[in-house]
Subunit: 182 residues, 2 copies
Amino acid sequence: MELYQAIAGRRSVRRYTDQPVPREVLERLLTAAQWAPSWAHTQAPEVVVVDDAQIRDALRASLPETNPANRAMGEAPLVVAFSARLGRAGFKKGEPTTIRGDWMMFDVALAMQNFMLAAHAEGLATVCIGMFDAEAASRAVGAPEGTTVVALTPLGYPAAETKVPPRKDPAQFVHWNHYAEG
Amino acid sequence: MELYQAIAGRRSVRRYTDQPVPREVLERLLTAAQWAPSWAHTQAPEVVVVDDAQIRDALRASLPETNPANRAMGEAPLVVAFSARLGRAGFKKGEPTTIRGDWMMFDVALAMQNFMLAAHAEGLATVCIGMFDAEAASRAVGAPEGTTVVALTPLGYPAAETKVPPRKDPAQFVHWNHYAEG
């Protein structure tokens, strides 16, 4: 798929069929995620691919029941947890180098955007989930000390069309040289 | 450009020509950035496009001299600052909803990855810069209270080939269902 088509066509999908994801397609998505840049090439992000029913249930249970993506976590054939090693991105000799501290959320998002675009190009769907109990999710996948789950997505074929939420006026998104005064 | 080609071909480029970036190309990159998803569609990320010499110098000065991207900030015809409104992504009714607090870094990275992929597809180059004085950069672009610059990139045509840094073994990047014990 053409890049701009993938960027503009990707939606956050919350209804999935149970059609399995071919292994070779999944491998392409994982490679795409790994091609994202990372802070000083520290490669903090990692991925856990989950098809085990028990682990998937535990991940789903880490979401509030009110999370609109909750049902999707039980529908899609796979759940993918994006995790990260702490104290790498943004760190030098064990100390943070900026006021932002750990840049692992930033680097996970770079990788996840590649993954979500590639999924869309393959006819698959995702929805980036951040509102869940990260400690419970990290326990569910056995994340070792110093590693944490950052974001989740179901991965599968979309069961329904999804509306395109309108973006704000580009004039509110882009500024030229300097923010307007006042 | 085909999506996977863009994902695999994008490099972090630190040498630029002074060839200007056509306005219509820049507009496509900005639109690509805006198409990224955001937390509950809060659309916290914003972009400041800088061609003013004084503001660009101030942004460049926010980088340590040792930052290998420092020179690139003075070479490329444009510098783009990715900023974000604080207290939106990850927040509900003014309160953070997860242990991660503000998800603005995550959402900025989603938008920036779209932008960097689109730049590569247009024959342009970028390098994602996080190691700089964010407060100084925010002052340089006049970011209003509650808005901060998160990451920077020069934007222009690449002056040199860039090596491909090898990624770690996929077996270190991908885990199946559960991290290995011990």
